[in-house]
């Protein structure tokens, strides 16, 4: 190979150039042509991407440094070889197709396919192919730039994976720029806020923030610019439908390659349900505390109450009948009795004797009916009793008396202008085993639907000033501590009003370690 320059390019431009008559037959132009050629050669050599050319018989005619680096072949071992050596067998047909395209004079740009390195490794590439034409314009081969895109695909893959992670998250993940404009919006964000990605991307994040909390956004941006994170900040946001709800927000700065903060990524967790549970927990704690507190308070006041009752009684005995003092003391005594009643009720203490006894429940019910007899008559209530409890049951007499008394008293109160009080007892098998079922129903005014779920709440009453709101609560405590249940159904519509109370007491007493406290706090 003759050379007119001291610098010999490592790769040759091949026979094509030399076989072209024009170049070597124009001695006058040789230095310019040679300069131009070496200039081009230098460009090709300095390319980062492999540049390979071939002739019409698919023989490789040029091979640059990058091609050596990427494919692994030295020029001397590959020049003259078929280009098909570089192409995976199943993709070789592409060359024919490409050739046809080239024939029309078109380039093929960024064609994604695969190639083979010398070691047999297959790798993804993006190829740009141009035709090589001779002076007459006839295609004599093609030159291609082959870009190894394995890295790009890898990062694409990890990008897809990240995107999938973001989309499958349960929490809303939103990114915004430093002007508060939403850049990305994941599926959970759509679900939680109600806006689709189309509706939110490009919009201000203020759309999600209640007006009175807009200042938060400034504060957040200030912190972000300072590079600070905001962790689990609980606040309120607004859904598309206007509903306000509680969220816990974590915001992190997004930086570019130089470390500059260019935006923020926000994870918002809808905690409205958790807050609801917390409220319920607090409420039930309050009720439990009420129970405990009531017991403590009642206990503390029972002694002074005992003294008071005695003192007032003695004072009344001592004052002349009919005197003002006597009347006042009588009133005081009545009020005191009411207080004692509350104290006894809240204590849940109610025993005549310390031990339970075997009784017929219908006897206890008869007892209660006798006590209320005058009220039953004055209210024009007719009583229908159907006692079929054939077995005695071991209960604390006082407790069951209180249970029946509370329920029957309620029934009587509901029938101010007459009605029917229906009481039935029978053997029954409940969820906890066999026992006695008692059903007490009245045709009174009934309990309104919105009140019904609350009737067992302590201090809830529909009787205004007259009610302590403790009767049913205590009743349920007493029953449940005995392993029994109580349920209430009611109808308050004018036509068919009435209430049905169903009580169940199992024969088997609950185990000692199942205390009332465990059941209801």
């Amino acid at each position: 190979m003759e050379s007119t320059s001291p610098v010999q390019p490592k790769s040759a431009f091949g026979n094509n150039a030399r076989s072209s008559p024009s170049a070597s037959e124009r001695p006058g132009t040789e230095p310019d042509a040679i300069d131009a050629r070496f200039h081009l050669a230098a460009i090709v050599e300095s390319s980062d991407d492999p540049i390979i050319s071939k002739d019409l018989s698919d023989s490789i005619t040029s091979w640059n440094n990058a091609a050596t680096r990427v494919f692994g072949y030295e020029p001397e071992e590959i020049i003259g070889q078929s280009i098909l050596r570089l192409i995976p067998p199943e993709l070789r047909h592409e060359e024919d197709r490409n050739f046809e395209t080239l024939q029309t004079g078109q380039r093929i740009e960024h064609f994604e396919t695969a190639r083979l390195r010398k070691n047999g490794e297959r790798f993804p590439v993006s190829v740009t192919i141009s035709p090589i034409k001779n002076a007459e314009g006839r295609i004599v081969g093609s030159s291609r730039i082959v870009r190894d895109i394995s890295n790009r695909l890898k990062s694409d893959e990890s990008q897809f994976r990240l995107a999938a992670i973001v989309d499958s998250a349960d929490d809303a993940i939103v990114s915004k720029d430093l002007n508060g404009i939403v850049k990305t919006w994941n599926l959970a964000a759509s679900r939680i806020f109600g806006y689709t990605a189309e509706e939110m991307v490009g919009q201000s994040i203020l759309k999600l923030i209640p007006d009175n909390l807009n200042y938060e956004e400034d504060e957040i941006l200030r912190k972000l610019r300072a590079g600070e994170r905001i962790d689990h900040y609980e606040t309120t946001r607004r859904r598309k439908n206007g509903e306000l709800f509680d969220v816990s927000v974590t915001i992190s700065p997004i930086r570019d390659e130089s470390g500059r903060v260019i935006g923020a990524s926000k994870i918002a967790r809808d905690i409205s349900q958790r807050k609801q549970f917390e409220l319920l927990l607090i409420q039930s704690e309050k009720i439990a505390a009420t129970g405990r507190m009531a017991a403590a308070v009642a206990h503390e006041i029972n002694n002074p109450l005992e003294s008071l009752i005695n003192l007032i009684f003695l004072a009344r005995q001592d004052s002349p009948e009919g005197s003002k003092a006597h009347k006042l003391l009588l009133t005081a005594e009545e009020e005191l009795e009411r207080v004692s009643h509350i104290a006894r009720q809240t204590l849940g203490y109610y025993r005549e004797t310390g031990t339970p006894a075997e009784v017929f429940l219908h006897d206890l019910i008869e007892n209660v009916l006798t006590v209320y007899n005058s009220k039953i008559i004055s209210n024009s209530i007719s009583v229908a009793a159907n006692f079929n409890d054939l077995q005695k049951i071991t209960v604390s007499k006082g407790e069951l008396l209180q249970v029946f008394s509370n329920v029957i008293a309620n029934a009587i109160d509901a029938m101010n202008t007459g009605g029917t009080l229906d009481i039935s007892t029978r053997n029954f098998v409940g969820p906890s085993g066999p026992g006695i079922q008692i059903v007490i129903s009245d045709t009174g005014i009934g309990i309104q639907a919105e009140h019904l779920p609350r009737v067992f709440e302590p201090f809830f009453t529909t009787k205004g000033n007259m009610g302590t709101g403790l009767g049913l609560w205590v009743t349920r405590q007493l029953l449940e501590s005995r392993g029994g249940q109580i349920s209430i159904a009611s109808n308050s519509s004018k036509k068919n009003s009435g209430t049905v109370v169903t009580i169940f007491v199992p024969f088997a007493r609950p185990q000692p370690n199942m205390s009332a406290e465990q059941k209801n706090g």
Partner: protein, 154 residues
Amino acid sequence: MLETYSDAIHFADESLSQDILPLCKDTASPEPDRSRRKILVVDDQKLIADTIVQIFQDAGFEAVAAYDGWSALEIAGRLRPDLLLSDVLMPQMNGVQLAIAMRRNHPETKIVLFTGQAGISEILLEGKEKGYEFELLPKPIHPLKLIERIKEQL
């Protein structure tokens, strides 16, 4: 009437107590029998013990107060009461312990305990384990009802 009243007082709902409380107007009448029954009243709350003693005396009984178990036993030795009415929760010697001691020393004495606290089951259990069972009244209790229950015992 008193019978009805006393039962109602146990578990009358507040709405009914308005009807029944006027019965309070009854005053206690003195015991008509010749020998006055003797009652020993024990409570660490002096006010309670003293007012109950007064109430019993107005009702015709002979009543004496003690404010702890030791002095109660001492007085009982001299008084030989027909009935002991004692608070349960007292410091040092509780009502059940006193009652057991009374049973041993004065087996003829009737015993009634009273308390303002429901959680005395362990204390009662202590008595039960030793084979004793005692009548128990709740605090607060209306004087008339108290008298009635005491009369039942005697």
